[in-house]
């Protein structure tokens, strides 16, 4: 079986599983589980945004949460001022994208090298965290939206059917929307990566100097990739603000930024399905660990297992040391070597059969 056929089967499989998930979950699960799944889908879009930037663009961005948070805040602020969700939704994509473009312009055209990209992006998100965190007073407002500082912005109005603000999207509707958006993002990115643009950014990731000597300007391609990633993260942020009707500065925090990186490392850099799997797996684990909060007993095992950051740290180190390629690529390798060894056996057997015949 050649790579192209495997590719198509993979795509089909993702489509079938995705649609089955979309249709079946609300029928078979209670609303609280559906809500939980909704946030997984939203975070998976965020994971995909970093999968594109880092996994395919080779841009180490430690501050993907900056665009995520900007998307959420932009939506919230615009919603309180406008009241109908079409424009706020668009703004929640455009503002983070424009911010990514501006930041990216200075980073890529300033020829800042890989490690410093990580430092700068992390610093940017922490600056946003601190800035928003200190806007608690009533004097901090944009139009009729109070920023709320560390208290965050509660009671954000939900998305409505475009053009009709009397038809808000309910909780189940949000599940459908988030899942469909994730599928659309996944397939959209597959298309993008199969296009000329996608193949060139992968070339630049592989060998930037060579790409340059072939006549491509890596700065422009990286900037475009970074901007698309910022837009996607902003979109995820908008959905997230809808999901909880609430946004607070922790969205820009270190924990949030680190999580996105862990999703991509665990799932596998250089794939799209990997970061989705990593994201959903880790989030599910977070929920499961959170459910086992010890009730003041002296069982210290229970206490360790309830300490989510500790568990994540162990998972991260284990993956970096033992499964450096991440879950999905490693499983792919194992599958391929199994296929190859079967293929070899078949080849070895063939001449025999011919002789027998």
């Amino acid at each position: 079986m050649n790579a192209r056929a495997l590719n198509l089967i993979g795509l089909g499989l993702v489509g079938v599983i995705g649609i089955a998930f979309l249709v079946l979950v609300p029928r078979f699960f209670e609303l609280d589980v559906v809500l939980e799944f909704t946030v997984y889908m939203i975070m998976a879009i965020l994971a995909l945004s970093l999968a594109l930037i880092w996994g395919y663009g080779g841009i180490l961005c430690f501050g993907q949460s900056a665009f995520f948070g900007l998307g959420a805040y932009t939506y919230a602020i615009a919603m309180f001022n406008i009241g109908e969700s079409t424009v706020p939704l668009l703004l929640a994509v455009i503002v983070p994208a424009a911010f990514a473009a501006l930041l990216g312009y200075f980073m890529f055209y300033g020829r800042i090298s890989d490690v410093y990209l990580g430092v700068i992006t992390l610093t940017v998100t922490l600056i946003l965290f601190n800035s928003i965190n200190s806007t608690a007073g009533p004097e901090f407002h944009i139009g009729s939206a109070r920023l709320g500082g560390f208290n965050g912005i509660p009671g954000i109005p939900p998305l409505n059917v475009p053009g009709n603000k009397r038809a808000p999207i309910d909780l189940e509707g949000m599940f459908y929307l988030a899942t469909a958006a994730l599928l659309a993002t996944y397939f959209g990115l597959r298309l993008l990566l199969a296009s000329r643009f996608g193949r060139i950014i992968v070339g630049i990731r592989e060998n930037e100097r060579r790409a340059e000597l072939l006549g491509y300007d890596p700065r422009a391609y990286k900037l475009a990739t970074f901007t698309i990633g910022g837009a996607l993260a902003g979109f995820a942020g908008c959905l997230f603000a809808n999901w909880g009707n609430f946004v607070s500065p922790t969205i820009f925090g270190l924990a949030q930024s680190a999580q996105i990186i862990i999703w991509v490392i665990v799932g596998g850099r250089g794939t799209l399905i990997g970061p989705i799997v990593g994201c959903i797996g880790i989030q599910w684990l977070t929920t499961a660990l959170g459910a086992n909060q010890p009730s003041g007993g002296s069982d210290w095992w229970a206490k360790i297992f309830a300490n989510a950051p500790l568990i994540f740290g162990i998972i991260l180190i284990a993956f970096v040391l033992l499964v450096p390629k991440g879950l999905v690529p490693t499983l792919g390798d194992i599958g391929q070597s199994l296929l190859a060894s079967r293929g070899k056996e078949a080849k070895r057997l063939q001449p025999k059969r011919a002789e027998e015949g």
Partner: protein, 240 residues
């Protein structure tokens, strides 16, 4: 005489106190094939890097078809038509041979045309069989061919080859010399090489670099007889 394809005027490159290239005035005619020789550290690779925009010269100018490209970006110079095959193959190791060549052909051609050019180029550098393999898994010699295919697929007017025959078997050297002569039918070339046998197979005119400057420029025969040239090579051997 027609205007030169490439010209450098007083070209110099300093790294701190180290003068890697010093006052080089070099000229190459349209369609010419020139060899550059000189001991290690003579400034040949630095010279190539300035011609391709990988280094910005400290002094002097590089003119390509009369246009000053001394401070142009590497990708702009590539688009003007200068291609380079580096000493250590610079290829896309994580991608297939076909994808490598495609990345070169894509910039110039439409979708279908690019596909055709890629197939042609794969046949020309003898890698049709290996087209779907990852370049990182190929032997050194094959990776050299991949890089040559990359450069040719961008259809440059001038090709710089940095030690194309290094690490090749005798047979491969012959094949490379043949290919270089074939390329020279349509394109100008500057070839850096140590192997004098190889140089005799391809070049008429040779430029000798020593300590960052042009020592002498002459025909292959005269260069081989030149006692000064022999000295700098023998001196190098004696030191080694």
């Amino acid at each position: 005489m027609a205007a030169p394809l490439l010209q450098t005027q007083d070209l110099s490159m300093h790294f701190g106190g180290v003068r890697a290239v010093l006052h080089v005035n070099f000229s190459l005619a349209e369609g010419e094939l020139r060899c550059l020789i000189g001991p290690n550290g003579a400034g040949k690779s630095t010279f190539f890097k300035m011609l391709t925009g990988q280094l910005e010269p400290t002094h002097g100018r590089v003119l390509f078809r009369g246009q000053d490209i001394s401070h142009a970006h590497a990708h702009d110079i590539a688009r003007l038509g200068i291609g380079i095959k580096t000493q250590v193959p610079s290829v896309f190791d994580g991608l297939s041979v076909r994808e490598n060549i495609w990345l070169a052909a894509n910039r110039l051609h439409s979708r279908d045309e690019a596909r055709r050019v890629v197939d042609e180029m794969l046949a020309r550098v003898g890698l049709t069989e290996a087209a779907e393999r990852l370049v990182g898994q190929l032997a050194h010699g094959q990776r050299q061919w991949v890089e040559l295919g990359l450069v040719l697929a961008t259809d440059p007017k001038l090709i710089l080859l940095d030690e194309p025959a290094a690490g090749m078997t005798h047979e491969e050297v012959n094949k490379t010399a043949e290919l270089v002569r074939e390329i020279n039918r349509t394109k100008a070339l500057i070839v850096v090489e140590h192997d004098m046998q190889f140089i005799r197979m391809i070049a008429k005119q040779v430029t000798v670099f020593n300590q960052g400057s042009v020592l002498v420029e002459d025909t292959v025969e005269n260069i081989m007889r030149n006692p000064q040239v022999r000295d700098i090579y023998l001196g190098k051997q004696a030191a080694a």
